[in-house]
């Protein structure tokens, strides 16, 4: 009996009448419908079985007259199994039990749908506003179907996010929304005592672009990849491949093998690019600009490579549902090999120059420490988790694309600090180069002349669920697709790796020095735009309203006194 059947039987057995249905299109996915009373029970059962919480997906299932739905997805890394449990509630009493009390990592997923769908979560420890701007009117829930995608409520004056009480004896230093160490708008209110960080509150979600809402109302299946890849400025292919995989899973599409290999190559090129870029940024954040410039010099070669492969400096525009758009022929393969050998040589030289530098050790070792247990508790993913001794990698645990045919090592460190992340990410550069070489070999030998993409035949059946994971350079990215009518998904949910990692940042910051703030936040490589992708377009972002609350108050007072 496979693990999947085991779980299915266990749940059927324990939940009895509260178990509604279980289905799976693929053998590594399990979609379960339960009654909402059983949500907590099911989740705790799954957690007891060794699951890792991934994300929550809320949507309005009005079309079927079902009210509001909440999906929680869990990963069984050892068994390559992804489980999604779905519960429905009626619109007049939109309440679920909160999972946050025993899964802290679910906190944001639930807060998100308090804002966006008007759900209530019983026993949620901190049901504060997360996604919407502070002046968003009460009672308008952007992800509800009756709210148009381009709704712009009038902005209100003098509304500000209420920060938590600062610990006694500490003062607040506002990092953000615009700060040199944050490359995107996000606001950390850091409570410091002298130079020591005593706490931190995060207020983000300022780069709303309403992508998920757009996908549910405006775009079509094959337009979404081009929007999906623009969720992130760095992991473009990650999101488009991930979305395409989710749709392909939901519609039962089997794409050509050659396309899978090309996708793998693109993903690994992206990893190379991202790791080199992060290495540079990390250098910059500790004030070591030579590392910054040298890493980015190497990265530039990757960007030129991407330009030759995809037609643009970023790894954008390669993926569509059903395959890829451009081929990697032999001349391009040669170009890749040439670039990779240069990159490898340059990277070795740079690594040798910095890996034993005591000055770098002094700034990274023991900084941003988080224990393995805490890392599990916060569901950390990617290099941040691997630096804390968690041996997990979606490429190996949930094989997708062509990763089942390539050999590579999962790099794990156990120092639990920024230094561990640095080592993991540097080592992964060489692993990525290894993977690309293997893929190129396969492309040249076995897969000559196979097609690049296949068309979606006929309309995609509505109401199918697809769940896909891709190991982005920063960690595991999860996409959930619920197919709908009108040639577009009814719900498409993106969970970028920064989403769980960022939730753990306040814990990482605790009792560190203020000077280490940039590198600690930088160590998770926060991709704010990935995390904030949801919600409705709000052009006047909350940004200029929260940071300088006092300043703004002063400003508005001045304006008033003048008039």
């Amino acid at each position: 009996m496979s693990r999947k059947e085991e779980l299915l039987n266990l749940l059927k057995d324990k939940l009895r009448g509260k178990f509604l249905a279980g289905s799976s299109l693929e053998d590594k996915r399990l979609f379960i419908d339960i009654k909402k009373e059983a949500l907590v029970e099911t989740a705790s059962l799954l957690m007891k079985e060794g699951a890792r919480y991934q994300m929550g997906v809320g949507y309005e299932a009005k079309k079927n007259g079902q009210g509001l739905a909440m999906v929680h997805t869990f990963a069984f890394d050892a068994d390559s199994l992804l489980v999604a449990i779905r519960a429905l509630t009626t619109e007049d009493k939109p309440e679920f039990d909160s999972l946050t009390p025993f899964i802290p990592g679910a906190g944001w997923s639930e807060r998100e749908y308090i804002d966006l769908l008007g759900l209530h979560f019983k026993n949620h420890p901190n049901p504060k506003r997360l996604v919407l701007s502070d002046d968003w009117p009460e009672g308008i829930y952007p992800l509800r179907q009756d709210v148009p995608y381009d709704l712009m409520p009038p902005s209100a004056e003098e509304v500000a996010f209420r920060l938590d009480e600062a610990p006694p004896g500490s003062s607040i230093i506002p990092f953000g929304p615009f700060h040199a160490c944050l490359h995107e708008p996000a606001h950390f209110a850091v409570y410091v005592d002298g130079e020591e960080i005593k706490g931190c509150e995060y207020r983000g979600f300022m780069v709303h672009r309403g992508i998920e809402k757009l996908a549910a109302t405006e775009l079509t299946y094959n337009e979404i990849p081009f929007v999906a890849e623009r969720i992130c400025g760095i992991c473009g292919s990650v999101h488009s491949v991930n979305y395409a995989q989710a749709v392909e899973a939901a519609s039962g599409l089997k794409i050509p093998r050659r396309a899978e290999f090309i996708r793998t190559i693109m993903l690994e090129i992206e990893r190379l690019h991202s790791h080199l870029m992060w290495l540079g940024v990390a250098g910059h954040l500790i004030g070591f600009d030579t590392v910054f410039m040298q890493a980015w010099r190497i990265r530039e070669k990757i960007m030129w490579l991407a330009e030759s492969l995809t037609g643009n400096r970023k790894t954008y525009g390669m993926v569509i549902v059903g395959g890829v758009r451009r081929d990697i022929d032999l001349t391009k393969a040669d170009l890749i090999k040439k670039t990779l050998s240069e990159v490898e040589k340059d990277m070795l030289a740079l690594e040798k120059a910095i890996i034993k530098d005591k000055a770098i050790h002094r700034r990274t070792k023991g900084v941003g420490y988080l224990s393995r247990e805490k890392a599990v508790e916060w569901n950390l993913v990617g290099p941040v988790a691997r630096a804390r001794g968690l041996d997990m990698d979606a490429r190996r645990d949930h094989r997708y694309a062509a990763y089942d045919e390539v050999k590579f090592d999962v790099v794990v460190a156990d120092s639990g600090d920024v230094w561990g992340t640095l080592v993991v990410r540097i080592k992964e550069i060489y692993e990525a180069i290894k993977i690309i070489h293997q893929c190129l070999g396969k492309l040249a030998s076995e897969l000559q002349g196979s097609p690049l993409a296949i068309e979606i035949e006929g309309p995609v059946p509505a109401g199918q669920q697809g769940l896909s994971v891709v190991e982005a350079p920063r960690g595991e990215a999860v996409h959930y697709v619920l197919t709908g009518d009108d040639n577009r998904p009814e719900r498409w949910r993106v969970r970028a790796p920064t989403y769980p990692n960022l939730q753990a940042v306040p814990d990482m910051l605790l009792n560190n020095k203020l000077a280490d703030f940039p590198i600690i936040v930088g160590s998770i490589d926060p991709c704010i735009s990935c995390t904030d992708r949801v919600a409705v377009i709000d052009r006047k972002t909350a940004a200029d309203r929260i940071l300088s609350r006092q300043e703004l108050e002063k400003l508005s007072r001045e304006v008033r006194s003048k008039t």
Binding site: E218, Q294, S308, G317, I354, D357
Partner: protein
């Protein structure tokens, strides 16, 4: 040890040299298959609007005036240069050029507008292209089906080998100067 590391760090540039490009003076040539600014070839365009309806960024707009003129406006300011339009164009009228230096303070500089003279389909009332020698045109040339007087005038003077210049010689041909101001009642 410390000194050795520092020396290693200092020797990196001696191997790589200065990598800064003399950018504005000497741009790096774009590689083959580069996705720069898309360029429409109006002589090939048949006004099918495939690009407009498949543009993920919704940056190609389409407008019909009086069912005779189809205006295609491409607004580059929001374009993501994905090249989807070029992929889908049935006549290969769109090419992704190598032009990427598109920064401007005037939006009109990067906006492309194509005005196409179309014929009205007698069956559905929508436009289709007149200036191109396609199968539908040929049918039209031979008087296969037309019952609009205006169209009859145009076609009455045309030859089986239709050329766009013939169109300009016809009495009814007048290209509106300001398309926005042209009043034709139906718009």
């Amino acid at each position: 040890m410390w000194l050795w590391n520092k020396i290693k760090q200092l020797t990196i540039p001696s191997r790589t040299g200065v990598v800064t490009l003399r950018y504005p003076y000497k741009p790096r040539p774009a590689p083959a298959g580069f996705r720069g600014q898309p360029v429409w070839d109006h002589t090939k365009c048949i006004g099918c609007a495939g690009c407009a309806s498949n543009c993920p960024a919704r940056t190609i707009f389409l407008r019909d005036i009086c069912q005779e003129i189809r205006i295609l406006i491409y607004d580059s300011s929001r374009c993501t240069y994905c090249g989807r339009c070029a992929d889908l164009c049935p006549e290969k009228a769109i090419t992704m050029s190598e032009n990427f230096e598109l920064a401007t303070d005037n939006r009109q500089d990067i906006t492309q507008t194509i005005e196409l003279f179309m014929m009205t389909c007698q069956r559905c009332g929508r436009c289709y292209d007149l200036e191109i020698k396609n199968a539908l045109d040929k049918l039209q040339m031979l008087g296969y089906r037309y019952d609009s007087l205006e169209v009859r005038k145009v076609i009455g003077q045309s030859t089986p080998e239709f050329e766009p210049e013939h169109l300009e010689k016809t009495a009814t041909y007048r290209r509106p100067e300001k398309l926005e101001k042209s009043s034709c009642g139906k718009d």
